[in-house]
């Protein structure tokens, strides 16, 4: 019965295991979202991990590769391109480490699988600047350790190793509150770690089921890529995206050829799989050209006049003279007013996103590659976007500087400091310095009862965060803002800019403004319509 039993992990089995992970995470991601340690609306870890995993699986769905190394490589690439949020980015690094560990292997023994799990965790640790224990990193490491212990047993099998990894993950997740104060205060386990546990459990379910089925028949046959080019005439051009599946593909040669046929050209990938994105008036020509290099997969042609665009092209960029320093600006922003503000300051492309809508690395990469400059400064403007943004420089030929702006006020300060006649490096230094000078106060409502930073908060309370840290809770906006400004020490500052969000009424705005003016007469107050969600008010203090 050896052929029915998965003695080793080959390409089809690994692919099936990942599909199982995806199904299981898909069914449970809301559970992950609910593990919201912070009382701010930030509960999308599960969604981010799901979208990242989906992107990994998208890339392998079409593949019938027999070798585990090939499937792992595709998953690594796909997850990297679709990584969203901190947990998503770390997940993509886990896939990357796994892919590196299994390079050149067609099938994994239980022991090799355990080694790959351990390597995956190591890669994730290396990718993070300051690894924090009690997070998905710890969970990945414990999963690897317990997989390695199981692989050392005489009767070790693939399912026994995966089962051990999942059990190790579960035990580590349960321990996360003892490692992180914020988890302990909130009375929850770490969401990202829990997500990883679910992914391993999904894998286990699939592999256990596979014991009773032939692996061969379970492997989905690749579908022929057939897309009807039913395109309206004229218009705005077509956003054309596809993958070229081939061998020894020369990315530069392909990019050059495609560039002649359109704009916003993005050609990335590996010699075996290249992703192409282009805005063109003649998609048929692009496709027939690409078809000479290999098999076209996942072809997607969209009419740009009707397509929902996450990336908003800058309307006036074309009318501007070329910038003296050749440096472009890309910012992650949400809220109509804030988008206008960033555009007005000269930002070339806006990636919509922020607190609860973390853009993927791919979204940011597309924007970066779309601006007409070879050097680009990227501003994530949210703590949850920084890690995904930090992946962008390694994925493009452009020189990309990621300035780690944690908030909208920091982003505004950084952009204001940008000077078109100054070099990229000098601008980055000045922008970083300006962003660091800014104090950010964010005002919102608690989405759950919690204790954080020694503060007891009830659902619905107005809460005030200073530089991402929950500092005050109260009954109304003015009270919380007064406390926050008092804590910062208003004598050291000159100007408060209030970005009004969607949730703030005219009365609330007027009350807040007059409260600041009467309590802090030394401060200038400027009100801007930010239009952001979730935060009725964001204040910049400088």
């Amino acid at each position: 019965m050896a052929s029915r039993r998965p003695v080793g992990v080959d390409g089809p089995l690994f692919k099936q295991a990942l599909l199982g992970s995806l199904n299981w995470l898909s069914a449970n991601h809301e559970e992950v979202n609910r593990l919201n340690v912070f009382p701010v609306p930030d509960g999308d870890t599960g969604t981010n991990m799901l979208l990242t995993l989906q992107s990994a699986v998208e890339d392998i769905k079409e593949s019938s590769a027999a070798e585990v190394s090939k499937i792992a490589k595709l998953a690594s690439h796909g997850s990297l391109m679709g990584a969203r949020g901190n947990s998503g980015v770390i997940l993509s690094q886990i896939f990357r480490g796994f892919a590196r560990a299994v390079e050149g292997k067609s099938s994994l023994t239980p022991r090799e699988l355990a080694v790959a799990f351990e390597e995956a965790a190591n890669a994730a640790y290396r990718a993070v600047n300051k690894p924090t224990e009690g997070t998905i990193l710890t969970v990945a490491r414990e999963a690897g350790r317990s997989a390695a212990a199981a692989a050392g047993e005489d009767d070790a099998t693939v399912p026994s190793v995966i089962a051990a990894a999942a059990a190790g993950a579960r035990a580590a997740v349960l321990k996360t509150p003892s490692q992180l104060q914020i988890l302990r205060d909130a009375g929850v386990v770490d969401a990202g770690g829990f997500g990883l546990q679910i992914i391993l459990e999904g894998m286990l379910k699939t592999v256990e089921e596979a014991e009773s089925f032939s692996v061969e028949t379970a492997a989905a046959r690749p579908k022929a890529a057939q897309v009807a080019l039913d395109l309206p005439e004229g218009g705005w051009g077509y956003c054309t995206e596809f993958l070229i599946d081939g061998a020894g593909l020369d990315i530069d040669v392909i990019r050059n050829e495609i560039e002649a046929l359109g704009n916003s050209v993005l050609v990335v990938g590996e010699p075996e799989l290249v992703k192409v994105h282009v805005h063109t008036d003649d998609p048929t020509r692009v496709i027939s050209l690409a078809g000479r290099y290999g098999k076209i997969l996942k072809l997607n042609v969209g009419d740009m006049s009707t397509q929902h665009k996450r990336i908003l092209d800058s309307e006036s960029a074309a009318g501007r003279p070329p910038r003296a320093n050749g440096v472009g600006l890309v910012a992650v922003v949400a809220g109509s007013g804030l988008v206008e503000i960033f555009r007005g300051l000269g930002v070339d492309a806006i990636v919509e996103g922020g607190q609860t809508m973390n853009p993927s690395t791919q979204d940011m990469l597309t924007a970066v590659d779309g601006v007409p400059y070879d050097e680009v400064v990227l501003l994530p403007n949210n703590g949850n976007v920084i890690l995904a943004a930090s992946q962008v420089p390694s994925l493009t030929k452009k020189k990309v500087h990621v300035i780690e702006t944690h908030s909208v006020p920091q982003g505004v300060a950084a952009v204001v400091a940008f000077r078109p006649e100054r070099s990229g490096a000098d601008n980055v230094a000045a922008m970083k310095a300006e962003a660091a000078r800014i104090q950010t106060i964010e005002v919102t409502h608690a989405v759950r009862d919690t204790r954080s930073n020694g503060l007891k908060v009830r659902k619905g309370d107005v809460i005030g965060l200073i530089n991402d840290k929950l500092e005050f809770a109260g009954a109304d906006y003015a009270e919380v803002v007064n406390k926050a400004l008092g804590k910062l020490g208003p004598d050291a500052y000159e100007l408060v800019t209030v970005y009004r969000g969607q949730g703030a009424s005219d009365d609330e705005m007027a009350n807040l403004e007059s409260a600041i003016r009467s309590n802090f007469p030394g401060l200038e107050v400027e009100v801007q319509q930010g239009g952001q969600q979730h935060y009725p008010f964001i204040l910049s203090v400088e």
Partner: protein
Amino acid sequence: MTAKRRFAVVTDSTADLPDEWRTRYGIEVVPLKVIFGNETFRDRVDISDDEFFRRLAAATRLPTTSAPSPGEFAEVYSRLARDHDGCISIHLGAQLSATAEAARIGAQSVEGFRVEVVDSQTVTMPIAFLCRVAAECETLEAAAAAVAERVPKSRVLALLDTLRYLEMGGRLNRAQAMIGTMLDLKPLLLVAGGEMPKAVSRVRTRSRAVSAMVEYFRGDLPVEHVAVMHAQAGAEAETMAAGLRKALPGQEVVIGQIGCVLGTHTGPKALGVVYIKK
């Protein structure tokens, strides 16, 4: 001094020439005009600076400005031709105004009188410095050469309380200057090299803008001439000038108020450090 010199020095009211220099060097000043609705005022002739800023603050519609006509220049040159061999006529930057062009056309209609029209590429006190340099020269040729050498070295650094006036007058392209319309920015503007005013630094508060101005000025040292100019911001200008005098012992630091025509484009509370580099 005028007696010795056989050539005249002419400028326009945007040079913000101090009255004392005007008398001492015998410099002719041709006024530009500022127009409130139906009323036209000759800059610094029919309206004082203080009166102008009072009206500006109260105006429902912003005033407009206009260059002197070629005919007005021709009149001045004809009069000067009686007791001079020629003149040097130094004017507001051609990128900002038609004044220099009007002077050129006006000069053509005065036969037998040599007029060296100079596009100063700048505005306010640097033009006055150029006039003084010219007035101290012995010959028109020497004056023309001395001025031509200094034109590319003139700099105007300006800090405006609001960009509204500059923009309404069409002297600022926000997109090009990367100055949005939403945020209240305090950009440091530079006029140099015959270009439109451009932002060389953007900050959010006036005190930081003042620091940026000083920092920029430091980078341009040494200077031959320097002045602190303002529009209804005398106290701030005094503080700035005192700081410059302390930092540059022995250096003349002139303080002046900008006139109506320029004020129409800067609005009140403008502060500037203007200079000619060595």
